[in-house]
């Protein structure tokens, strides 16, 4: 029984397993937003999630829906295989920036180009979290990581990849937006975007992706609060928030 003034509870789409994420990491927030959306849309029964390799490798332990665990970067290919044989199910991948933007760049670009009717939740925290904070394709110029110890030198280590901007150029993409998890207002906007992405999939409107700027206090070597500030002050300018592509059909969706 719920009490009359209950304002917060664990979403039904979550299992009882406590997450393994570091204190202050926004993976937990992102998970919760996805769980709330699955529950609100009442699609848990027909949802199949695809977990990545990276910090979210155990995402499958937290969502109370069918889940599979993909090889590093291959979640969009696995999701394609599932969705093509079960088109009436809801299939989503949850991928970090090492998984999606580095080793899995081929899979994500082609799933998007084919217009696979999938939803991708893309966590951009500017480093490889699970292996201990190495440089990712999304690491900011000058940012120190364990494999760019003097700061990312763009002359030898290249420039950050702006995934949302890139994928939004593809015809097969229906919905492609970037949001951030650094404050309550942005978190609310992020949830709305995640809802739109799943609503788009349920309607068969093509590939949908929500990129979420996310913290990594442990590997960034910052307090959780400073990590949130870092997003606002450094990540957002480099990765501007906004709608990179929203197809006309998706614009008609009223939530």
């Amino acid at each position: 029984m719920t009490t009359p003034n209950l304002v917060y509870e664990r979403p039904e789409a979550f299992t009882d397993t406590p997450t393994h994420y570091c204190p202050g990491c926004t993976h937990g927030v992102a998970h919760r937003l996805v769980a709330e959306v699955l529950e609100e849309m009442n699609i848990m029964d027909k949802t199949i999630g695809v977990a990545p390799v990276g910090c979210a490798v155990f995402a499958y332990n937290y969502f109370d829906v069918d889940f599979v665990e993909a090889p590093h970067g291959r979640a969009p290919a696995m999701a394609t295989g599932i969705k093509r044989v079960l088109p009436d199910r809801v299939v989503f991948t949850y991928q970090g920036d090492g998984d999606l933007a580095s080793i899995g760049m081929g899979e994500i670009v082609h799933a998007a180009a084919r217009g696979e009717n999938l939803t991708v939740i893309f966590i951009n925290n500017a480093n490889f979290g699970m292996t201990g904070g190495q440089m990712a394709p999304t690491t900011l110029p000058g940012m120190k990581t364990s494999s760019s110890q003097n700061g990312r030198d763009v002359e030898t280590q290249g420039y950050p990849i702006k995934v949302s901007e890139m994928l939004s150029t593809l015809e097969g993409v229906g919905y492609c937006v970037r949001r951030s998890l650094h404050d309550p207002k942005n978190i609310r906007l992020a949830k709305k975007a995640i809802r739109m992405a799943f609503e788009s999939q349920v309607r068969g409107l093509g590939f949908s992706m929500v990129e979420l700027l996310s913290t990594c206090p442990t590997n960034w070597g910052m307090t959780p609060v400073n990590s949130l500030k870092f997003i606002e002050e450094h990540m957002v300018p480099a990765y501007p928030l906004g709608d990179y592509k929203v197809s006309d059909a998706i614009k008609q969706i009223k939530i």
């Binding site: 949802t47 291959r74 290919a77 295989g81 079960l86």
Partner: protein, 371 residues
């Protein structure tokens, strides 16, 4: 059903369709491409899934995804493409989901060439992806056998929740022979108790993963896989014998090398030489027990392959040094002619090796002298 002239690659594609293939994911590569081309037309016509993936890496992971839902799924490729698929195969094995993969082998290593070869035997049978895992490997030697084994591969993969691979060389892929197709089987989705196809409100959620973070759990998984493998070894060994009854020399060869050897055996028999052929159809599980029996009868074995001696090791393990095991191979995409194998049979009679002879070394020496 009447016989039709079928090309090996297209026959495999149609046989898979008739066995209830629900999804195919592939990438073009010679000499396998006809499988992809054929299914690009056939699958959509039947309302089934077909995707030309961005790479073999993409293809095998699409197979992995579809396999997790419990449908019949396959991919096909040729040597370099299969190398790229090894990541996915290891995951599929670790997750214990059924999948079928066809390797129409070509000359290697590297880009090699597109001529028929059997140089991926070790990769298929002993190696491939990382980690300990068994897999079923079938080696058809004719178009009819390619059809029959394609159908069988889906049954075996499902029965043992295991990868079932077909390895054939480009010659069988490209060859046309009269063959009979099985009846079209309607797609029957089995309600596997492991498939992640959405709970649909009827059951608890399921998880398919190859992660066992606790080494003791992974160890149990490894043991489970290999205990299941013992069942496969006990029940699924297949081979075909020719002129074996009174054979004093037994040739062992699979696929095209096996059928070329058959021509040599016939020619030798015409000259009164008591030679027979054992052609493994399952190269994994390997007909070790039968070879062990034949060791009591044969005074020598001759292994013929289109590689530098890969199955040779499996024959040696079965024979265990009791009689000489000799080798003749043509690697790199060269298909031997029967007279070469006939020559080897005659050499074995006139200048037999001993059990101490290093078969590959002796072969290399002979090859170098002839060159």
């Amino acid at each position: 059903m009447t016989k039709e002239l079928w090309k090996g690659n297209e026959a495999i594609a149609e046989a898979a369709v008739r066995a209830g293939l629900e999804a195919y994911f592939g990438y073009p590569i010679t000499p396998q491409t006809e499988v992809l081309e054929y299914l690009s037309r056939r699958m959509p016509e039947l309302g089934r899934a077909f995707v030309q993936a961005e790479s073999e890496l993409g293809a095998v992971n699409m197979v992995y995804g579809a396999a997790c839902t419990g449908v019949r799924v396959m991919s096909s490729s040729s040597s370099p493409g299969v190398s790229l698929m090894m990541e996915g195969l290891s995951y599929i094995a670790g997750t214990e989901v059924p999948a079928v993969l066809v390797n129409v082998m070509r000359g290697g290593p590297g880009l090699g060439n597109i001529a028929p070869a059997q140089s991926d035997y070790n990769q298929a049978v002993h190696g491939g992806g990382h980690g300990d895992y068994p897999r079923i490997v079938l080696a058809p030697a004719s178009v009819q056998e390619a059809i029959d084994l394609t159908v069988l591969s889906f049954d075996l993969a499902e029965k043992y929740r295991m990868i079932c691979m077909l390895i054939l060389d480009g010659a069988i892929g490209q060859m046309m022979e009269p063959a009979e197709m099985p009846e079209m089987k309607p797609v029957q989705r089995k309600d596997f108790d492991w498939a992640t196809n959405g709970t649909m409100g009827k059951r608890d959620r399921r998880l398919l993963t190859s992660i066992y973070l606790n080494p003791l759990d992974e160890e149990q998984t490894n043991l489970r896989l290999f205990n299941r493998w013992k069942e496969v070894q006990a029940s699924e060994v297949r081979y075909k014998e020719y002129f074996i009854e009174d054979a004093e020399i037994v040739i062992v060869g699979f696929g095209t090398a096996g059928r070329v050897a058959l021509s040599a055996v016939r020619a030798a028999r015409e000259q009164g030489i008591k030679v027979g052929l054992l052609r493994p159809i399952t190269v994994s599980p390997f007909p070790t027990e039968r070879l062990d029996q034949l060791t009591g009868q044969a005074r020598a074995f001759l292994v013929t392959e289109m590689n530098t001696g890969q199955m040779l090791n499996d024959v040696q393990l079965a024979v265990r040094g009791r009689v000489p095991v000799e080798f003749y191979g043509r690697p790199g995409g060269v298909v031997p002619f029967p007279d070469e194998i006939l020559g080897e049979i005659k050499r074995i009679i006139s200048a037999p090796a001993t059990v101490d002879t290093d078969a590959r070394d002796a072969w290399l020496t002979r090859m170098t002298q002839h060159a």
